[in-house]
């Protein structure tokens, strides 16, 4: 059983604090992804769990042991590094078996574990090569293999796919997901790529500037972001955000049209309150080029400045309330730049954030 609990974990480098009292409970067998822009403290947090960084305050437990001051080797974890960190002077076989050899396990047990890992990751034919003779994807698999031979309680992944090309990245993403289903273990995974986070995670932890902004399932954070940061960080293209003020039961967008107040927020806002209206491109569609909207919606004209056909849908860039806004069109047709279209905004899928705190008004 390996839950990982972080309680008020703090990291300081001299006077600079990079992680500000993080609380996080990771369940046994859970796949948790820490995501955020670079410098948000996600890698530092992972390295503190690994024991590669000391913690400046708080408590970390793995299973039911407090591991604050334990060196990495006593934490029963394994880690996959961004640049693989394979031992260049050892063959793949030696790389895979290294941890067991250090633990002085009998040779036949090491051989069995190495063969098993090589089988899972289809590395059998490369066992006698050195890492230098492998391709990026193969090295990545060796790094993962080295992590699984030990059957650790917790796997840590530090941006493992960021050195791979786009195609390989998608492929390895699937392999990691399969691996999790096979080895059934707790995984903490760090990435700056929100697509990786969405596709892999049981739960996503979104971090910024050493704080946790939101924790939730991928759908949770996508559908009800806690603040504007999460709203723009998760989902592609990022959520459109427009400033405005509540006047009665409408939102008057700054330098823009009046839009009815989304009904789900009616009781959460006060007259005259400054707000930020958020909506995704998927919820703003030109009339006649999508399913007609049901329920509450707003309608207004918008000029389309640019369109990006993506195949099944076309991304439209227009200007609303003085800001660039992205919309989607489902039934593609050639568009003239500068063409004015009538748009419908699905109010039931809109988000409202407080203009000062940028927190959701849900």
């Amino acid at each position: 059983m390996a839950q990982v609990h972080l309680r008020d974990v703090v990291k300081k480098y001299g006077a600079i604090q990079v992680v500000h009292g993080i609380d996080l409970e990771i369940q046994d067998n859970e796949f948790v992804v820490l995501v955020g822009p670079s410098g948000c403290g996600k890698s530092t947090t992972l390295r503190m769990i690994a024991g590669l960084e000391d913690i400046s305050g708080g408590e970390i437990t793995i299973g039911d042991r407090v591991v604050n001051d334990l060196p990495p080797r006593h934490r029963n974890i394994s880690m996959v590094f961004q640049n693989y960190a394979l031992y260049p002077h050892m063959t793949v076989r030696e790389n895979l078996g290294f941890s067991l050899k250090i633990a002085k396990r009998p040779q036949d047990e090491i051989d069995r574990a190495v063969d098993e890992a090589a089988g899972i990751l289809s590395l059998a034919e490369y066992l006698d090569r050195k890492p230098g003779e492998l391709s990026g994807g193969q090295r990545q698999r060796v790094a993962m293999g080295r992590a699984i031979v030990r059957h650790p309680e917790v796997f840590l992944f530090d941006e493992p796919l960021s050195n791979l090309d786009a195609k390989l990245r998608t492929q390895m993403r699937t392999e990691i997901k399969k691996l999790h289903q096979k080895v059934k273990s707790t995984i903490v995974y760090v990435t700056h790529d929100q697509v990786e986070a969405m596709t892999l995670a049981d739960r996503i932890v979104i971090m910024r500037d050493g704080h946790i902004e939101q924790v939730g399932t991928p759908l949770d954070v996508f559908e009800s972001p806690a603040n504007t940061f999460v709203a723009t960080f998760i989902g592609s293209p990022p959520m459109n955000l427009l400033r405005g003020r509540i006047t009665g039961d409408t939102i008057s967008l700054t330098d823009g049209p009046l839009i009815s107040l989304p009904p789900q927020f009616a009781s959460n806002v006060a007259d005259g309150q400054d707000v930020i209206l958020g909506f995704r491109a998927d919820n703003l569609m030109p009339v006649g080029h999508a399913m007609p909207m049901e329920g509450a919606y707003a309608e207004f004209k918008m000029t389309v400045n640019l369109s990006e056909p993506l195949g099944t849908e076309t991304l439209l860039f227009g200007a609303l309330a003085g800001k660039e806004v992205q919309a989607k069109m489902l039934n593609p047709r050639p568009l003239q730049n500068g063409e004015q279209l009538q748009f419908q905004l699905d109010l039931t899928r809109c988000h409202l954030f407080d203009a000062q705190t940028e927190q959701s008004l849900r």
């Binding site: 060196p71 080797r73 974890i77 880690m79 031992y87 002077h89 250090i102 633990a103 890492p131």
Partner: protein, 288 residues
């Protein structure tokens, strides 16, 4: 004549010129060495002949025989000098490498107060010409009674070599990604094990090249050794060469013979570790 042919001819000509230039350069580098080897097998008459005799009329081992012969007949305690050189060079190299590894690793991996200053200080010691140290060293060694001992010379060579080995080894450890040691620690190693089982083997080529440079420096050093050694019991081979000079004559043949004996171990060593040496010097260019 067509254009392609012209270009081809020019290419061959350039290539030929290239080889000629290389040959001249190599000749300039190699001739003194070959001359020494050649002279060690020739009688003095031929060595001193003017104009120089390039194609030897007679080759024999007389110089070697005399060198290993009795003291009165041109003999020199070669074995004793060789042993002295070996003891001094090997010991000082080992110490310089150990200190260099500790220091180089510390400079490469840890940040501490005054790091840059200490490093520059170490490098500055290399800027002092060795000979200028001979008098102060002589006085220090004389006062401490270390003159004419192996230990004295070993200490001097360690001091000479350590800044260099630290600098070189620091460079090699910098090339070893820190992730490797971290991965090893996660795989169950202590900090110490991570160093010996992962970081050291990866940087081994660099340590080997530092070792060769340190060894060759000690093995070939003459200026300081000539001041700090007096007797057969501590003279190293370069100093031993002076045994062939007397008040009015110089035994060039004997000197060359001893020089050849001196070159051989260095040559063998360099040959054995050649692979490491080159790998070491080009380490940065090869991605592991």
């Amino acid at each position: 004549m067509n254009e392609n042919l012209q270009h081809r001819i020019r290419k061959y000509l350039l290539k030929a010129l290239h080889f000629v230039a290389l040959f001249i350069a190599m000749a300039i580098i190699c001739v003194p060495g070959l001359w020494v080897v050649l002279n060690s097998f020739r009688p003095t008459v031929e060595i001193m002949a003017k104009p120089p005799v390039w194609i030897p009329n007679e080759l024999n081992l007389d110089n070697y025989r005399a060198m290993f012969g009795a003291v009165g007949e041109g003999g020199v305690p070669v074995l004793q000098y060789f042993t002295n050189s070996l003891i001094v060079s090997v010991t000082s190299t080992l110490i310089a490498i150990l200190v260099g590894m500790a220091g180089g690793y510390a400079f490469a991996r840890y940040s501490f107060k005054g790091k840059a200053g200490i490093f520059i200080g170490l490098m500055l010691t290399r800027a002092v010409p060795g000979v200028s140290l001979s008098l102060p060293l002589f006085i220090v060694m004389a006062k401490t009674g270390l003159i004419d001992t192996h230990l004295g010379l070993i200490l001097v060579y360690v001091a000479l070599n350590v800044p260099f080995t630290i600098w070189l080894i620091d460079g090699f450890f910098r090339q070893v990604p820190i992730d490797l040691a971290e991965a090893a620690e996660i795989d169950g190693c202590t900090r110490w094990q991570a160093f010996w089982k992962v970081e050291f083997p990866v940087a081994r080529a660099g340590v080997a090249s530092a070792g060769i440079f340190a060894f060759l420096t000690s093995w070939n050093e003459y200026a300081l050794a000539s001041q700090l050694t007096r007797s057969t019991f501590s003279k190293t081979m370069p100093v031993g060469l002076r045994d062939f000079t007397s008040e009015f004559t110089i035994n060039w043949g004997g000197m060359c013979a001893l020089a050849v004996l001196m070159i051989i171990p260095a040559l063998i060593l360099t040959f054995i570790v050649q692979k490491h040496l080159i790998a070491g010097l080009t380490f940065g260019g090869v991605k592991g």
